[in-house]
């Protein structure tokens, strides 16, 4: 009798929460998606808030007054940091998609080196660059 298996390899939300035996790239994947969803949420609100500029100074100032305060400032900083990580990690993902930094295919010789390990330094560069941008952003957001 034919049995319906479904897509057992699809973990859904559980796949986000646990990297399992996978490496740091799996957590970068979760963070990438979390940042993406955060940016999308902010972006949709941003479209409505910034549209008020078409209605003059009073409408603009009113909209700005409704999005000021510590919570909004912290939220905007989080969006800035999310963009720094999501954008730089996105570049890494595009490079990976194109096969760049994965090494050329060759016969497997012991000790085996996975393509994931070959491109791992790129992830580390991404994390360092994102951290530098977050620090510069933090200086501009909170110190200046």
């Amino acid at each position: 009798m034919e049995q319906k298996q479904g897509y057992r390899h699809k973990l859904g939300l559980l796949g986000w929460l646990s990297g399992g035996r996978y490496g740091i790239e799996r957590y970068a994947y979760s963070l990438h998606r979390l940042c993406g969803l955060g940016i999308l949420t902010y972006f949709i609100m941003h479209i409505f808030v910034t549209a008020t500029r078409a209605h003059g100074a009073v409408a603009w100032d009113g909209a700005m007054a409704s999005v000021t305060g510590t919570v909004f400032k912290l939220g905007e900083f989080l969006v800035f940091g999310a963009f720094a990580f999501h954008g730089l990690n996105g570049i890494r993902l595009v490079l990976t998609e194109l096969g760049i930094f994965l090494g050329k295919p060759k016969m497997p010789d012991y000790p085996y080196k996975q393509s994931t390990l070959r491109q791992r330094p790129v992830l580390l560069v991404v994390m360092v660059l994102a951290a530098i941008l977050v620090l510069i952003g933090g200086w501009d957001f909170f110190v200046q």
Binding site: I47, R53, A54, F83, G87, I136, D140
Partner: protein, 123 residues
């Protein structure tokens, strides 16, 4: 559109966003740094500063391009995430239709605002 084509547009849109949103983030959030380097805008959130940018053709066009590619990238990304939750095919079609209508609606609304601000006349 084939799924693989839509996926490559999604990647391409991401690269455009990286450039345009990077510029936008630098102007809006690294303003002190840009001013120290001799460029950028002071008091970026005041209405006069916002209008000064909105009335430039470069900004008006780049806002509309950024709006379009960011909506495509963001909503297609959301669709990808939702599809990984094992949705049935009917629900997949519904999600696609809802996101498409929302994306087109937001694009029309945001583009209207960008063009209206570009044509805005101070009293």
């Amino acid at each position: 559109m084939r799924e693989s084509t839509a996926w490559y547009w999604f990647l391409f849109a991401g690269l455009i966003i990286f450039v345009l949103l990077g510029l936008h983030m630098a102007i809006m959030h690294l303003d002190e740094l840009l001013l120290a380097l001799g460029t950028g805008y002071a008091n970026v959130l005041t209405f006069s500063s916002v209008l000064a940018r909105s009335k430039q053709t470069f900004f008006m066009i780049s806002y509309i391009i950024l709006l379009g590619v960011a909506l495509y990238h963001g909503l297609y990304g959301l669709r990808t995430i939702l599809f990984e939750l094992n949705l049935k095919s009917g629900l997949q079609r519904l999600v696609t239709a809802v996101l498409l209508v929302a994306g087109v609606g937001l694009f029309v609304f945001g583009s209207y605002a960008a063009i209206a601000a570009y044509l805005f006349k101070m009293n």
